[in-house]
């Protein structure tokens, strides 16, 4: 079920209302059933895959706690293998097969083609797999007690607000919340709804509108003037933020209305002054997952310098691969590896420390933004050759008018006209400026009812009047 669908508009208030009407002992069951309904709105049969990993991880958690020594590790490995196996089968099998076939073709071996699987990737597979893995790892590390209540554990993996696109929660933060009785709180309700409203604004008014332009240009990059490519890339930079952080806001807000606190996933990443800071503010739940379970497991920075750099590279390459089974994502991860390692090298081997003045902060912010936007080219392009073509055309200012569609042509002829540009740019600016103080503003609004009503009414009316209601899926659902 999409958050931006009519079904969810009915589903959400009904589920929240029933949650508070039910006695505490039945709430977990209610949320579990609601989460199943939510997930089954996509491809119902795929719920069996989820249950398969849930059962394995549930048993593994208990066994890891019970056993000691070598057997503990064995159960952890079994659990990780099961999760990664499901992920590999559904997400990466065809990628590897295609590459093996391409390699065989290079060797002129065409008689032994490995057949591709005709399967659709289960929605949000990478998210709930990682969340499930964090449970068994934390039990293994002794940071979390194994959950004995199967229903509660299943709910930990399936909790509908963050089931398909995160935030990827940790058991220490979420599991205990299912056991606590949440009394109805008007503050939680208002805070949650306000955050959801903001998320819908970002998704429907900005992200889905920018997507029109980005899709037109990125689906046929060779037809467009380089300025179109530059604008589309900048638009995608804003689009992906509004799409994903919008989803996170709706998820966090929906959970908040029922009294659940999910971890924040974004903290104004495009205001970062360097690439390291960007990764502390972008998709925080995934970055910290990789930090806690991969980087630290590899030794982090407590090993030698070379090994520490290797660990960073491994994390970013795996992160790229996590996003999708495509070379474009791997290159995106590799680019960020290069950015962050360069930054670390500069930090380590030079004495350059930028002065903390506003002009330097702005310039370094712009530079970081440009680096991130450049890397998004590879993330968004339909394939690697398209990505390199876009880069080449942008950096060589390739235009060859009249054979390539100029910005004016595109605006005059496509469904993305002057009105779309006006709304996109003004609303994006409004969003970026407002988010600076959004957290402060949101928490202050509870004590200022008139301001709250004016603010929420304006946002809701803007969504109704200017939203793009095409039931567009969220970008991160595909991961």
């Amino acid at each position: 079920m999409l958050f931006n669908s009519l079904q969810f508009l009915i589903f959400f208030p009904v589920v929240t209302l029933i949650y508070f009407l039910l006695p505490h002992r039945f709430r977990w069951l209610h949320l579990l059933i609601a989460s199943c309904v939510f997930y089954m709105a996509f491809i119902p049969i795929y719920i069996l895959i989820l249950f398969f990993t849930i059962i394995i991880d549930y048993i593994a958690g208990i066994m890891i706690e019970k056993e000691s020594g070598h057997r503990r590790k064995m159960f952890l490995v079994a659990s990780i293998l099961a999760n990664v196996g499901v992920l590999a089968f559904f997400k990466y099998f065809n990628f590897f097969t295609e590459n093996v076939n391409a390699f065989l073709a290079l060797l002129h071996i065409t008689t032994h083609k490995v057949p591709l699987l005709k399967i659709i990737l289960p929605i949000g597979l990478s998210f709930h797999t990682f969340q499930a893995m964090s449970y068994t790892i934390e039990v293994y590390r002794g940071h979390q007690k194994a959950e004995r209540h199967f229903g509660i554990y299943a709910l930990y993996v399936m909790f509908y607000p963050q089931l398909v696109a995160g935030p990827i929660e940790r058991p220490q933060n979420l599991l205990h919340q299912f056991k606590e009785e949440h009394k109805f709180s008007s503050q939680n309700l208002l805070d949650g709804l306000r955050l959801m409203l903001w998320g819908f604004f970002k998704k429907l008014v900005i992200a889905d509108r920018l997507a029109l332009y980005v899709s037109i240009v990125y689906n046929a990059p060779n037809d467009y003037h380089y300025l179109n490519l530059v604008i589309a890339t900048l638009f995608f930079t804003v689009q992906i933020y509004c799409d994903f952080s919008g989803y996170s806001d709706i998820a966090i807000g929906a959970a908040k209305t029922m009294g659940f606190d999910l971890m924040i996933n974004f903290n104004r990443p495009y205001f970062s002054k360097n690439i390291q800071e960007f990764w502390k503010k972008w998709h925080i739940s995934l970055s910290t997952w990789f930090r806690d379970y991969l980087y630290i497991s590899l030794g982090g920075n407590r090993v030698g310098v070379r090994r520490a750099y290797f660990n960073v590279a491994a994390v970013f390459l795996v992160s790229g691969f996590w996003h999708g089974a495509n070379w474009t994502f791997i290159i995106w991860g590799a680019l960020h590896t290069v950015f962050i390692m360069t930054y670390m090298l500069i930090q380590q081997f030079t004495k350059i420390r930028l002065p903390n003045t506003w002009i330097v902060n702005i310039l370094s912010g712009i530079f970081t933004f440009c680096l991130v936007a450049f890397a998004w080219i590879f993330f968004r392009a339909n394939n690697v050759s398209d990505a390199f073509l876009i880069v080449k055309h942008i950096f060589t200012c390739y235009h060859q008018v009249p054979f390539r569609v100029t910005v004016t042509d595109l605006v005059n002829q496509s469904e993305f006209g002057r009105f779309s540009i006006l709304v996109s740019v003004s609303m994006s600016a409004f969003m970026l400026i407002s988010e600076r103080r959004l957290t402060v503003t949101l928490s202050n609004l509870n004590s200022k009812p008139v301001r709250d009503i004016v603010y929420c009414t304006c946002i809701l009316t803007i969504i109704i009047l200017l939203g793009v209601f095409h039931n567009n899926s969220f970008i991160y659902f595909q991961f």
């Binding site: 008007s186 709804l193 009812p449 929420c456 009316t461 109704i464 009047l465």
Partner: protein, 322 residues
Amino acid sequence: MKPIIRISIVAILAVILSQLAYMPINKVVLKYNCHSYKRLTEIYEDTTAYDLIFIGSSRTHRSIYPKIIDSICGLNSYNAGTEAGTIEDFKLTLKGYLVHHPAPKVVVLTIDLPTFSRHNEIHNYPQYYPFLNNPVVNTTLSDDGYNIGMVKAMPFVTLTDLDDYSRENTLRLAMGKGGTDIPDGDFEYKGFLSNTTEYIVKPQLEKDMKRMVLYSECMASLNEMIDICKQHNIKVIFTYAPEYDFNLQKTRTNTDSVFNFIYSTVHKNNIPYLRDDSLDLCKDPRLFANNGHLNKPGAIVYSAVLAEELNNILVQKSDSLR
């Protein structure tokens, strides 16, 4: 202030503001879509009796000029073609038309290659919202899953169906800067909308090959239309509208299946079928705005040819198959 009161106030205020915005916006939207609105009003609300109606997609809407048909055939005809129309649109047009109008003597149905490729899909459904009082429109949209009840109760929700193109045109018209859905230099006449005088300068094929699918639901819809015509004693004629040098067929696959189905239907039901893709005019790029659509001069030339063809069928009563 209790949260439920606060939420209610926000919801009510947003509804009031949106409804207030809806009224002038809708007025301008209808003003902009003057041709479309007038055409649909004629089909779904008016009661004028026509001898012949043309049903089809934009290839009907932009190609058949009723003035010429009327003068040659001595009939009173109406062009009820729908832009990007699917078989569902065709069926809706026929059934919706019959609600208020007396049955015409003849229905000329133009079938395109992709007519059967989209099922359960009404193209540009918001254009039908002003005509929900027509029971056929109401039922069709409801059956297709559109929230008619919501649209009736809260008309402002139709604003969510506007795309930016419509919003921009509405805004321009409201500011006194824009035109309407009848472009400068073009004209309308009894449902027909002329299609510029621009013509094909350099013939080009579409880049991608498109596979034409035949959905059983769509084929059933065509048969249902034939049955309705039989019930109302309406003569049915099928046509295939002109295309430039077969350029559409060159970039479509599985076209044989489409034509085979049409031929089997016309044989079974004794329906005349006019394949107008091999007319001489189809070789003249100056008569086409693009591969699939005649331009203004092209529509005038073709309408005269079609009128003669119809005359042959209607006057001589020779249900010939070409």
